[in-house]
């Protein structure tokens, strides 16, 4: 039987269409994925992301351990209450997972990793942690609720108790607070403002209902995907994987090569890749015609006479329909020297598209030049 989060009964009560996601029964939508997407862009919505995993790292060597195992520099989060986004690399420079790490207290860090990669992440982190004085704890007793949208912080404040609401109100983007039992980060995966609240599973239903009473609507994983795509955010397993480096996945900015003395897993491989010259780049695509590009759609340069999709040099990694833009967008991996006009293979036709720099949407509005 598939796993269920502490909020499963809430999803059923809200008429969720449930699907299997990485072995969990999760809500793909509650009636209309597009309405839910728009609710987050224009107002506020909440996601149950308790299928993702919280891993707490504590002990005297916690910081040193993270410094050596994360591609971004944990020193950027030296102030308690800071968070950073980073890749976890293997020795070939390939991406094992992407994650956010929160510095919540002295010798105490919390990371949130993807559901589908949890087992291999834990195995990797455990193997890397062996000689360090620290503790690694997969917190299966916690739930995660993300509240996102321009009114997210306002309405989350209504649902939280006064003291907590006051502390949360003061958080700047990528800052976090913690109490004995929960943590709140001003982070998210939608391109909108908001919080990600990590709390005891036993308290999750109560908070979910309080948020709902305050006017926050439930939003499913379908909208979560179209929101993150509009925001230009990568999805592990599609936009990057163990055989791709951050440099060819639009994530070069998350790798801290400086300071030069910081050794981290994958460093040599990435430096070597940079010297050789990275051959592919991850770009944003906007389809100029009616249709929807999807993962694995072939991409060729405009004017190319190659009609064979299998031989195309570019590939869509993530593709969908963008409700805010009323057209299809995607992320694609293409050769670094390509110009901006391309064509995407959709249902036996090559349709015109153009390369743009993500994000596609910012502050709820399209960033595209022509509309």
């Amino acid at each position: 039987m598939a796993k269920r989060t502490p909020l499963y009964d809430e999803h059923v009560a809200h008429n969720a269409k449930l699907v299997d996601f990485a072995g969990w029964d999760m809500p793909i939508d509650y009636g209309s994925q597009i309405a839910e997407h728009k609710a987050v862009r224009e107002n506020v919505g909440m996601f149950d992301v308790s299928h993702m995993s919280v891993v707490d790292i504590s002990g005297p060597d916690a910081r040193e351990f993270l410094s050596g195992v994360l591609a971004n520099d944990i020193a950027k989060a030296d102030d308690v209450g800071r968070a950073i986004y980073t890749c976890l690399l293997n020795t070939r420079g390939g991406v094992i997972d992407d994650l956010i790490v929160y510095h919540l207290g002295d010798d105490f860090y919390r990371i949130v990793v993807n559901a589908a990669t949890t087992e291999k992440d834990m195995a990797w982190l455990s193997s890397q942690a062996r000689d360090f004085d620290m503790n690694l704890a997969h917190r299966e007793d916690l739930a995660i609720i993300a509240v996102q949208g321009p009114r997210a912080r306002e309405l989350a404040g209504v649902a939280l108790d006064d003291e907590l609401a006051e502390r949360a109100r003061k958080l700047k983007p990528f800052e976090a607070l913690s109490t004995d039992t929960l943590s709140i980060g001003r982070t998210g995966y939608t391109g909108e403002d908001g919080f990600e609240i990590i709390l005891p599973a036993s308290d999750a239903r109560s908070l979910w209902r309080q948020l709902n009473s305050a006017g926050v609507v439930p939003v499913g994983l379908g909208a979560r995907d179209t929101l993150r795509l509009e925001a230009g955010l990568n999805l592990y397993g599609q936009d990057m994987d163990e055989d791709r480096t951050p440099l060819e996945s639009g994530l070069g900015w998350t790798v801290a090569f400086k300071p030069a003395e910081r050794a981290f897993v994958g460093r040599e491989a990435l430096e070597h890749a940079r010297e050789e010259g990275v051959s592919h780049k991850l770009v944003g695509l906007v389809l100029e015609e009616r249709g929807v590009m999807r993962s694995h759609s072939a991409v060729r340069e405009a004017g190319s006479d190659n009609d064979d999709a299998e031989a195309a040099e570019g590939e869509v990694t993530s593709g969908s329909y963008a409700p805010t833009l009323a057209r299809s967008i995607g992320l694609a991996r293409v050769p670094v020297d390509w110009d901006d006009t391309v064509e995407v293979r959709i249902r036996d036709k090559w349709l015109a598209a153009r390369i743009v720099k993500p994000p596609f949407v910012r502050n709820g509005k399209s960033r595209l030049e022509q509309d």
Binding site: S32, Q33, I34, A35, G222, R290, G291, Y321, R347
Partner: protein, 131 residues
Amino acid sequence: MSDIPKDLSYTKTHEWIGNDGDGTITVGITDYAQSSLGDLVFVELPETGTKVSAGDAVAVVESVKAASDIYAPVDGEIAEINEELADSPERVNEDAFGQGWLFKISIEDESALDDLLDADAYKAIVEDEED
């Protein structure tokens, strides 16, 4: 369980057919189909005047999830299309059997309609798929 009006006919590819009584039929997709597809984002309809044969793929409905071909249930000619769907494809989700109609076909052979499924037969197909 989705709605399956008794006064319509059906195909196993989830189209519904209404007999307009004047030599034309109206075709759409069922409530079950729109629910499976999710929110529609594009609907591609044939041109009026196009001659079609039963089983031809004549239209496409595309949702965030997937694209799906729509098949002509009988031989005939496209008499009218639902122009509203170009700007408002969500009509199909909101009202699959009513305002979400896709196109009308003018037919010569009314007896071809006898080969279509009735509501009970279609219901059995849906129940099978849902298992």
